[in-house]
Symmetry: C2
Subunit: 652 residues, 2 copies
């Protein structure tokens, strides 16, 4: 592509939103019923853009790396999400105005009230408060009016610290801040109740009895973990390998805002890459090691700064900033994917999570953040979930979720072993016998060592077993504990999981912002410069007039394009050529083929490029060949059209 | 494709299910937690088969017909589904054993108990009861044991009539049958309570207050209807046109059974084709009119028969058996699609709904039914939903959902009109003024005529308005009613909707059954003969041994295949060639390329065809070209390999 001009008008979100609405990229769902916040429908161009992004994702990740794609259910029983930790920890803090009943997300309330006080302070100090941006006006704000009140210097500083740390506070801390700084309902001045946890999963009942509680999944990951054994077998037991899934997940946001960036139902694409915890190298790391990325490491953030380190991923792994090759490999692959589909690399960075913001399952985590008019937004997470999920599901279900690896050299292991006189357990413990046995067999090596010492010293061991009233006492008639040496030929381990997780809606919105610009001197003439790879329609066929001789030529071209697998449309409306091209600039269609009366004579047509409005002319076959070369993202305009005649036409 | 041999072993569902499980096409979801009935996960080959079917669907329908694809939310607020009728009518009848609490789907309970009594009767009469099939054993049955009891002839006849009509009974009727024939819980003999309605939608609460009740959508259609105005505009206001959507829908089945055929979460692909109710012709009808389909019309069924009429769709529309061209066009297109993806045309019929089984919104409906070991199963519905949905949503929201058509010749219309003296309404009715006005303007032409007569006769009209205590009385000072002639240049109408609706999971399962067979003489050697178009993997690359010289050749081939967009896999495991081919026959991979030591010398490889196990040998380029020609479904094996040398090898 020739690319859009570097010197473009400043981005205004209002202009983009007008285009997205007019061309039905997406719209609030159920809007004739007044809408439901956080729910959006994708119209034809948005749906197609989404499908193309998903298709590019599948080729870039699943096919390229031979991943095992699965499609698992959204309905998930309570027990599974209780085990994974989501029932207890997948929550936000909310507080309620006890008079009006209005509900606020606690951190958002604190943030908005304090921001408005700082603005009021600025005004009172006579500092030139930055003029409010259109964007800020459009955001549904709780604080309607800024009061010009000067703050004490120390208070101002405290406020700034609170804002810097806002993502890291617990509910208790938020409650204290609300009390200490008298944060109230900004509309009514009413007192708000202390924050309580609100679980973000949508709950439902499965089956007619209403007794099987379930949720809509908050992520696709759990469905992949539960199938681990079947997936490992599908992969002929080879490690490392990855599963992948593309599907909707759900999050019952307290008060959704920011358009597609925070919604209640969203498309995710997630990869679970299973590795040996003792070897997180990646066989294809060399292929990407020289790619430079922009990193924002956790120690930089802890120091209150946002300085970017721009180094190669090879360097980043070598210095230990990025923990291991597999994590690094995926960061580079994520970068390549995002650039390919139209994210501006200048507006892309990788931010490491600080320990206080890490999800409950993560050992390390980097977010690909994309900058838009809403600021830097997490669009892809790349977490090392360690062995957390597989371990907890295995423990809960007594189903082993492990890899067995033949050892090149047998391993000699020293360990304590407990011998149990099973025959004597029955008569002594009756129905509790298996409980006691399970207790003993599930001791760690260290616990066994302690028990061995106790047995040695006292001639017996005494312990409590859950679900039994009395203490259990066992002497040498019942057990023996000894340190023994054994030879192992197989190593059994729970794999660690590296998880790149993509929010498709957030990425799609970022691509829209980065693709949008307007023609010099005319703010209303918007263009969406999608790369051909993801453009909803690749070619617009435009017959100059509705003349009957031109129609068969249009149909022939469309049928050729369809044969090549190139999505295309005819615009045979009566609007002027200029209007029709303008409409399709808004739809982001990269190529236009014009059929005119000359075509009837010599079969030549004109090809127009969206961003530069350059035109060339040639035979239908030559033009189709050029379009084909460019649509699959390999040839540039200059290469593809070098043998075609430049066509000068006054366009609009 | 050469196709599988006509003479194959009899189909046994157990054998197929063993393959599907072993190769992880799909499996019960959450099975390490004991599973949840009616929920299934698709493993890698199932997921890929599904994606290929969806991709074929999109090309066959959406791209071919320029449909407007949308992606709308699954979460749907109560009000929308109340209006569409689903809150009141999307239900099954269930009854409960008041002692054990067990819940039965009423029609299934009646069916199973009566079937078992008829079997017992047969035994008692000494008639050779057909040996129970394996399939029946696997079905979770309520009736564990058949009691050999002879029935009176009249009772036997009544039972047979009940079974024949089982799909058409109301809840009340089912309750009467249960009472009259003493249908009880077959396990305990306990009395069951009268049937009550159970709504099949999953309910949830949207937002933190818990006050916005919502459901998981039971179909994708409503999301399309609500966007009708935006879609019409996207189509430049041209009619007819269609929208389409592919996505999950949900149905909280009372007691799911029959594997993928009756599940609680399922992928649908739905088309809503909007037509002028006065012109349901289809511009492309001629292209398909000579296709012969197998019809089971409603009058045949009403006569208690199942005779098939096999005629061209042109004939079926001409005789009125199929109501109109658009409905007929889609039946033919559905047929072409199903055949293309591997449904056996002998096991496909189109059955018309009888009026008592039609969904609450449908005016006419044909099901594409596919025969499998579960019997004839509805896999695609093709309903004429008339103007039902658009009308009810428009009435509820006061948002017009109509098409405006410029008339070629202006239309002269005679109609009654009511003139209102608005200025006098305010003082007379105060806050009720607009209620009275709305009442008057929303009268039908016939009602206006009656009022005109009343005004003429009495000098006033008297009527009741909802929400007002007193009767309203108006004389000529307030209104005037007159018959007038006006000229209309635009016709406004609510379009009718023809809806082809595809259950992807049911189609996928049918394709699996139709594709499955086993090699002569060896029931355990299963083959899935998918058409290359939908096969999960197109090519298996098999290096003869794990020799280091062969590996780069495998990688080169895979990289070439990837460049052509042909999904392929290497199997470099240590299993024998025969075992590796057998494994991939089970995965339905149509082509195998073998690399051996000859390849190192002369670059030739062997190509194997799955169904016939025929092999040919040629240069890598020639083989790749043949595979490419066949993978996109255009060339046959004989055509694609005619220049290649036949290769004779003992395979296994």
């Amino acid at each position: 592509m020739s690319g859009r001009p570097a010197q473009q008008q400043e981005f205004t979100r209002d202009n983009l939103e007008a285009v997205l609405k007019r061309r039905f990229f997406y719209a609030p769902a159920f809007d004739i019923y007044g809408g439901v916040s956080g729910l959006y429908d994708y119209g034809p161009p948005g749906c197609s853009l989404q499908a193309n992004i998903v298709d590019a994702w599948r080729k870039h990740f699943v096919l390229e790396e031979d991943m095992l794609e699965v499609d698992t259910t959204m309905l998930t029983p309570h027990e599974v999400l209780k085990t994974s930790g989501h029932v207890d920890k997948f929550a936000d803090w909310m507080c309620k105005d006890r008079v009006t009943g209005e509900i606020f997300r606690a951190d958002h309330l604190v943030e908005e009230v304090i921001e408005s006080r700082l603005k009021g302070d600025k005004e009172a100090r006579g500092e030139a408060a930055a003029p409010e941006k259109v964007d800020d006006k459009k955001r549904k704000k709780k604080v309607k009016e800024i009061k010009s009140i000067k703050l004490e210097d120390s208070v101002k500083e405290e406020y700034e610290t609170i804002l810097a740390k806002i993502d890291g506070y617990s509910g208790l801390e938020l409650g204290e801040i609300i009390k200490q700084y008298n944060i109230v309902n900004p509309t009514t001045g009413g007192v708000v109740e202390p924050p309580i946890e609100f679980n973000l999963m949508f709950e439902t009942a499965i089956g007619p009895s209403g007794q099987l509680k379930g949720y809509l999944r908050p992520e696709t990951a759990q469905g992949q973990f539960l199938n681990f054994n079947k997936l490992l077998e599908s992969n002929n037991a080879k490690m490392p390998f990855a599963s992948a899934s593309i599907g909707k997940s759900f999050r019952n946001e307290i008060s959704p805002r920011a358009g597609l960036l925070r919604v209640r139902e969203f498309l995710m694409a997630e990869i679970e890459h299973y590795v040996d915890p003792e070897d997180k190298s990646h066989p294809r790391f060399d292929e990407i090691k020289d790619i430079k990325l922009r990193f924002l490491a956790k120690d930089v953030q802890s120091a209150g700064k946002t300085d970017i380190t721009e180094v190669t991923i090879g360097e980043a792994v070598k210095t230990g900033m990025v923990d291991n090759q597999t994590l690094g490999y995926f960061l580079a692959r994520i970068y390549l994917f995002l650039i390919k589909i139209g994210v501006n690399p200048e507006f892309l960075r990788f931010r490491q999570h600080m320990s206080n913001e890490m999800a409950h399952y993560a050992a390390d985590c980097w977010d690909a953040e994309i900058k838009s008019s809403y600021g830097w937004i997490e669009c892809v997470g790349c977490a090392d979930r360690s062995a957390y999920d597989l371990s907890v599901h295995a423990a809960r279900t007594n189903e082993k979720l492990v890899v067995r690896k033949s050892l090149d050299e047998p391993l000699v292991v020293e360990a304590f072993e407990i011998d149990i006189e099973k025959k004597k357990f029955g008569p002594k413990f009756r129905k509790d016998a298996s409980k006691v046995e399970n207790y003993l067999t599930s001791r760690t090596d260290c616990e066994k060592e302690t028990m061995a010492a106790e047995l040695e010293k006292n001639g017996k061991v005494v312990f409590k077993v859950e679900g039994m009233a009395d203490e259990v006492e066992l002497d040498r008639n019942f057990i023996n504990i000894e340190k023994r040496t054994r030879t192992e030929h197989v190593r059994e381990y729970v794999p660690n999981v590296i998880e790149p997780s993509f929010g498709i809606g957030r990425i799609l919105y970022s691509v829209l912002e980065h693709a949008y610009w307007s023609r010099a001197g005319d703010e209303a003439r918007g263009v969406l410069s999608f790369p051909p790879l993801v453009a909803p329609t690749k070619v617009l066929v435009v017959p100059l007039s509705n003349n009957e001789e031109l129609n068969p030529i249009s149909r022939g071209l469309i049928s050729q394009l369809r044969k090549f697998g190139i999505p295309s449309k005819v615009d045979d409306s009566s609007a002027s050529i200029g209007k029709r091209y303008a409409r399709n600039d808004e739809l982001g269609t990269p190529f236009g083929i014009t059929i005119d009366f000359q075509t009837i004579k010599d079969q030549t047509v004109t090809l127009r490029e969206r961003d530069t409005t350059k035109q060339v002319r040639g035979s239908q076959d030559a033009i189709l060949e050029a379009v084909r070369a460019m649509s699959f993202g390999t040839a540039s305009w200059d290469d593809a059209t070098k043998d075609l005649a430049v066509f000068e036409a006054q366009e609009e």
